[in-house]
Subunit: 234 residues, 2 copies
Amino acid sequence: MAAAAPPPPPTPAPSAPTGLSDSTPGGHPLFSRIRLATPLDIPYIQKLIHQLAIFEKLADLCTATESDLASTLFKSPPFHSFTIFLLEVSSRPFENDSAFHSQNFTPIERIINLDHSVSDPEAEAFANGINGDVVVAGFVLFFPSYSTFLGKPGFYVEDLFVRECYRRKGLGKMLLSAVASQAARMGYGRVEWAVLDWNANAIKFYEEMGANVLPEWRICRLTGPALEAHRDAN
Amino acid sequence: MAAAAPPPPPTPAPSAPTGLSDSTPGGHPLFSRIRLATPLDIPYIQKLIHQLAIFEKLADLCTATESDLASTLFKSPPFHSFTIFLLEVSSRPFENDSAFHSQNFTPIERIINLDHSVSDPEAEAFANGINGDVVVAGFVLFFPSYSTFLGKPGFYVEDLFVRECYRRKGLGKMLLSAVASQAARMGYGRVEWAVLDWNANAIKFYEEMGANVLPEWRICRLTGPALEAHRDAN
């Protein structure tokens, strides 16, 4: 777990520098796209999960291999069970790739106008195999939850992650909002996730998106040998 | 939400009273059974959910009707999505009701030897229609979750509830352990739920079952108009 830490949305761009400069206010478009992940994306997803674990200072708890992910994800239609939205970015417009359009979900595209182009030190490792210019920048993994009080399903967001060089550009908000939008359109009652109480930036970001941080609830976890001890308890 | 408050397991019975008494140490067997709930159980489940909301002092948040539950539950095979174990008790042995045996789950039965018979003021409202002597005493609702760090599914327990007159007899533990046992047998990596931080009895109970209470995580919730505002955000 759990929902990670997109920092707050970007502050307004400073006024344009005068004279010679590499920067152009808003002159560097970053084309961004959210689409349903597929089994072909597992290598990227596995790397993103490990980056998230390092960010959360929980790397020692992170053991997921590509094989683990392949044997447990993509077993149900999107939104019925574990579902992943993948965030891709490109410095050029996306080709209209109909493979990513489905009955379930139409990719969301947005152009973010930056003052500086992004320098991505991991561009090669996250380059999308199909279109050389496209790189994977983040993901959100979520699944249906259920509110007995509402008598309705919701979504629980297990992970939300944007790679470091793409943060503070509104991409984390775009990912989480995509889940919320999907929930609202399906008539679901809520979206929930967990945040580390020391992550003040993330808490501020979530509250600005309209979320409440519930102060009284604590998460209980039964895992490892303590879980195994219940195997034959009945 | 969320996982409610089974008090700690019973303390050892005091030594038998001498002289005339209605009590017989261990002489009052309570036959208990955990089985998969079916759509026919929705009236009981709806009443139990509202009792849970009152216990949690959150009754104003609880709007679920039988119709809400009927339109959202029992849409998938057990354990694939929202799943309910129902707890029934009886003062007589259960008839071997093969209707409740399935490929998915064999009911769990246990005899609890009490010193006093239980006086159930709501026996009529919770009497099972099929067997006059059987009453519904509690439930647990859970659904698959996913740990990206483990690369494995788990279960998230949304609600765990035992009616007041049946508490302190080990029945809450039996329900939660049934979920943990199921998770272990399916090769799942963990079981999680939420507890109110003021509910010291429940926290003690969960820790005794082997769970860790995670101090740093807070639950974030997006619901109602704040959720709806994201509908067309993309």
